[in-house]
């Protein structure tokens, strides 16, 4: 129940930031089969926006350190290179253990550059 209260607060905050950002992004083409690279808008990559738009915050928490399950990692302040490596390996299937099943269902939403931008942003968080 404690978790629930937190989640509501996080999503309320996300409604202010993430969803608003999402509304500005053109909708992905309907014909794009799941599993293909996400197309990137021309705007410069902003890790904070990506973290909301690509729904990372839903599981890892808006502050990136309050995951929805205790088995999920805190990302705030994690080493940048380590995160790039893990996300890339999970996406490719090279890493296939732990909770990767949840990540593998959504990692088509980020491409290589976006992964780097996300990791750079998350590493700066305290």
């Amino acid at each position: 129940m404690r978790r629930r209260g937190w989640t509501l607060a996080a999503v309320a905050a996300a409604a202010l930031f993430g969803v608003q950002a999402m509304a500005q992004e053109p909708a992905p083409a309907g014909t794009e089969p799941a599993g293909t690279e996400a197309t990137t808008p021309a705007a410069p990559l902003d890790g904070a926006t990506l973290f909301m738009q690509r729904t990372c915050f839903a599981c890892h928490g808006k502050d990136a350190k309050t995951p929805i399950l205790p088995e999920y990692p805190k990302l705030a302040g994690q080493n940048e290179a380590y995160m790039v490596r893990q996300i890339t390996d999970i996406k490719s299937g090279a890493r296939n253990n732990g909770n990767t099943a949840a990540m593998q269902g959504i990692l088509h939403l980020v491409n290589e550059d976006e992964i780097k931008a996300l990791a750079a942003y998350l590493a700066t968080l305290k």
């Binding site: 129940m1 978790r3 509501l8 999503v11 996300a14 014909t31 794009e32 799941a34 839903a58």
Partner: protein, 245 residues
């Protein structure tokens, strides 16, 4: 409780000396595992557990709106999900279907590692009924992800009329009382992923009648029929163009 049971089984397996095979599987599943279509004696939509409770309770859409905030992180506040099919469109779905699917995910009968922790945040059958009642009131957005279109649409329409219309209706309206989902307004990519999973036995809470119907479809036919489905509209629940639900 579920996790404790998992650890208990893990400990038992260790004692028996069969941990080499068993441990990694249990270690990676946050969700429990309930018997599904792969198990002998599987009965589709068996009336048991919290589903029955949630179905008999009266859902309050107002309370459901508050509960839906958790869901809206991925499914968006209007319920539309993503046109690329990563997350399904939910708006206007029958509450019976929503309750069954969430209960199946919670029970571990429909495997969905992304959705599972969120399904678990619903605290009790009343909240399940509330959130389902709220989602059912949302108008179906008319701008869902469509298939590629073209020549195969005619084939898709024929297939739909022969195989699907009886349960899912001419407008893709499904059936609330029979737990058949609304298809109108659903994203092509999501429909395709689900029908492939159903045909291939991966969707473990599937209706065996439907599995029988589609399991021998060549993939081109699955694509054709799903493309046709992605163009269905149900006037009663579809939002007017230009108006977002």
């Amino acid at each position: 409780m579920i996790r404790n049971r998992g650890i208990g089984r893990l400990a038992a397996a260790t004692l028996c000396g069969v941990v080499a095979l068993a441990a990694p599987v249990w270690a990676q599943d946050a969700a429990p595992k309930a018997k599904g279509i792969e198990s002998e004696g599987y009965q589709w939509n068996q009336m048991e557990g919290e589903k029955v409770e949630a179905l008999t309770l009266t859902g309050d859409p107002k309370r459901g709106e508050a509960a839906f905030e958790v869901c809206s992180a991925c499914h968006l506040p209007n319920g539309s999900g993503r046109p690329d099919g990563t997350f399904p469109q939910l708006a206007g779905q029958h509450r019976t279907v929503l309750i069954k699917q969430i209960a199946d995910i919670r029970a571990g009968r429909r495997d969905n590692p992304i959705m599972y922790p969120f399904a678990k945040t619903l605290v009790d059958p009343q909240e399940l009924a509330d959130v389902a009642a709220y989602i059912e009131t949302l108008p179906i957005p008319p701008n869902n992800g469509r298939g590629p279109g073209g020549d195969h649409l005619k084939r898709g329409e024929e297939l739909y009329k022969v195989n699907c219309v009886k349960c899912h209706g001419p407008n893709g309206e499904g059936s609330m009382k029979d737990f058949f989902p609304v298809l109108a307004g659903q994203h092509y990519a999501y429909l395709l992923r689900q029908i492939r999973d159903i045909a291939g036995g991966k969707r473990r809470n599937a209706n065996p009648d439907m599995v029988k119907l589609v399991k021998d479809f060549p993939d081109e036919d699955l694509q054709a029929v799903v493309d046709y489905m992605s163009r269905l509209g149900w006037p009663e629940r579809t939002a007017k163009p230009g108006k977002q639900g």
